[in-house]
């Protein structure tokens, strides 16, 4: 009985593996066809491009310009600040030291409204 179970199991395992291979090989065949087609069209395009190239070649890449390092630091700082202020709001916390809370969940727009009297 147990021998029978194992024998059946072996057949199932074998046919299962067969089906997996069949499926993936079928996909592989399609992809091979893709590759052939792409190869063929690439050759054709390469030829075509060769003759059309000159006109385009003059278009220069956007001139990156020489940005002084100072400016880059300034920019990065500004962006970082900006991000902190505008994009991290939702991640903020409900409790923290001494005011300045941004929690959107329950605070809503209350902060300005209710505390404003105290802030002055």
């Amino acid at each position: 009985m147990n021998g029978n179970v194992i024998q059946n199991g072996a057949v199932i395992a074998f046919s299962g593996l067969l089906i997996v291979f069949t499926g993936l090989i079928l996909i592989e065949i399609v992809l091979f066809v893709f590759n052939k087609l792409v190869g063929a069209s690439a050759k054709r395009r390469a030829l075509k491009d060769y003759f059309e190239k000159e006109a385009d070649e003059i278009v220069p890449a956007t001139p990156v310009a020489d940005i002084p390092e100072d400016d880059l630091i300034a920019i990065a700082t500004a962006i970082e600040c900006y991000r902190k202020i505008h994009f991290d709001a939702l991640q903020s916390e409900i409790t923290f030291v001494h005011g300045g809370q941004h929690n959107v969940w329950k605070v809503g727009y209350k902060v300005g409204q209710r505390l404003s009297g105290l802030r002055k």
Binding site: T95, G108, Q113
Partner: protein
């Protein structure tokens, strides 16, 4: 001509009652205060809209409202009854707690463990109101659901009453959120009555910085302890702490972000809309009117107010008692924050304190009892669940 008559009879104008009109006005008021006063707008606005929608009279036999489910003999569950199922099955409140956990910082509580006693003391409002509700003739299950209003936690109130007293869900939820919105008006008089001028001026030491390890261990320990003590609190506390662990662990940021945004928002919209839509002015079940406009609702609103007042009272009183034994005194104004209503009641502590000493920063200290109160009322709900199920 008969068909034309039938078509016209399907309009709602004929069936509109004065009760409906009154409820529609109430819904409009909820929307108004949400927008103009900015009172809990994320909840009161959809609730108010739901109240309006729920009081449009529909056609018998056409499944539209939150109660039109197969169990009521309708051939199909209405869409709104499927929304409402998310409330009555108890599935939305824990998901909302998951999101709130992912947005809450417990470091104030961790750095100042004494806060937990204040958070516990404020729950006295729940249990005294429970007795009060029994005295007014509510059944045990109803009284427990009404008492929990004093927990000042919307999801907890909705979770408990959806299981113990679903027929009172509408008024209980609306009372809970209304009083949470009115915390800045309800609490200050009681706080001032209970404290001396000197007490209100007590300054507290700046708290220590809490390490990441502590923040990670905290949710795990809380869920184990509170659910061993009160297994019924597992759904709420478990999800609250899972959300907090996702936030604090540092390796699951994307899960915490989704839990605290998309998931929380979706559940909030559907829950609050369908709770609102469950407040039909008049509704008969087995011949008894279980609608919103009954004397029971008045009782619930009265008891809910009482519950908030007692909770505030209990929190402040306990802080004063603790001061008898402490060397470093605590400012009793933070006791009132133990009712939860996060973060409004903590902010009220701060505002009142600054009326007497404008450089006294209590907000951080008040957040401790504030979040402790959330855990406390979830445990209280777990106790009621265990007793009454």
């Amino acid at each position: 001509m008969e068909i034309l008559g039938k078509v016209i009879s399907t309009t709602g104008f004929a069936n509109l009652t004065w009760g409906n009109v009154l409820m529609i006005v109430i819904g409009g008021i909820a929307i108004y205060v949400a927008i103009v006063k900015n009172y809990e707008p994320l909840l009161l606005l959809p609730i108010g809209f739901g109240v309006i929608v729920g009081n449009i009279p529909t056609i018998p036999g056409l499944p539209i409202g939150v109660y039109d489910s197969v169990a009521n003999g309708f051939p199909q569950n209405s869409v709104f009854s499927l929304f409402y199922w998310g409330v009555t099955s108890g599935i939305f409140p824990p998901l909302i707690f998951l999101g709130i956990g992912a947005l809450t910082d417990f470091s104030s509580l961790i750095s100042n463990p004494k806060s937990l006693l204040l958070g516990a003391a404020a729950q006295v409002g729940i249990f005294i109101t429970y007795i009060g509700a029994l005295l007014l003739g509510f059944s045990g299950k109803e009284a427990a659901s009404i008492g929990i209003i004093g927990g000042a936690d919307g999801p907890t109130s909705i979770f408990l009453s959806s299981i113990l007293a679903p027929h009172l869900l509408g008024p209980i939820a609306i009372a809970a959120y209304s009083y949470m919105a009115l915390v800045p008006l309800i609490q200050p008089p009681i706080m001032k009555l209970m404290t001396t001028d000197a007490e209100r001026r007590i300054r507290m030491k700046p708290p220590r910085k809490v390490s990441k390890t502590e923040k990670i261990l905290f949710p795990i320990i809380v869920v184990i302890i509170s659910s061993l003590i009160a297994p019924g609190s597992l759904s709420l506390v478990g999800m609250l702490m899972l959300g907090n662990l996702l936030k604090e662990c540092g390796v699951t940021d994307r899960l915490a972000k989704t839990a605290g945004n998309a998931l929380l928002d979706i559940c909030t919209i559907i829950l609050s809309f369908s709770v609102g839509a469950s407040t039909q002015a008049i509704r008969f079940v087995n011949g008894a009117n279980v609608g919103f406009l009954t004397s029971r609702s008045l009782g619930i609103f009265f008891l809910g107010f009482f519950s908030f007042a007692v909770a505030t009272f209990g929190g402040v009183l306990f802080a004063k008692i603790m001061n008898l034994f402490l060397k470093e005194k605590i400012n009793p104004l933070i006791g009132s924050a133990g009712v939860s209503a996060v973060p409004d009641s903590a902010r009220v502590s701060q505002i009142v304190a600054r009326q007497y000493d404008k450089d006294n920063y209590l907000l951080f200290h008040a957040m401790g009892p504030n979040v402790a109160g959330v855990i406390g009322s979830a445990i209280a709900a777990g106790v009621f669940l265990a007793i009454f199920r």
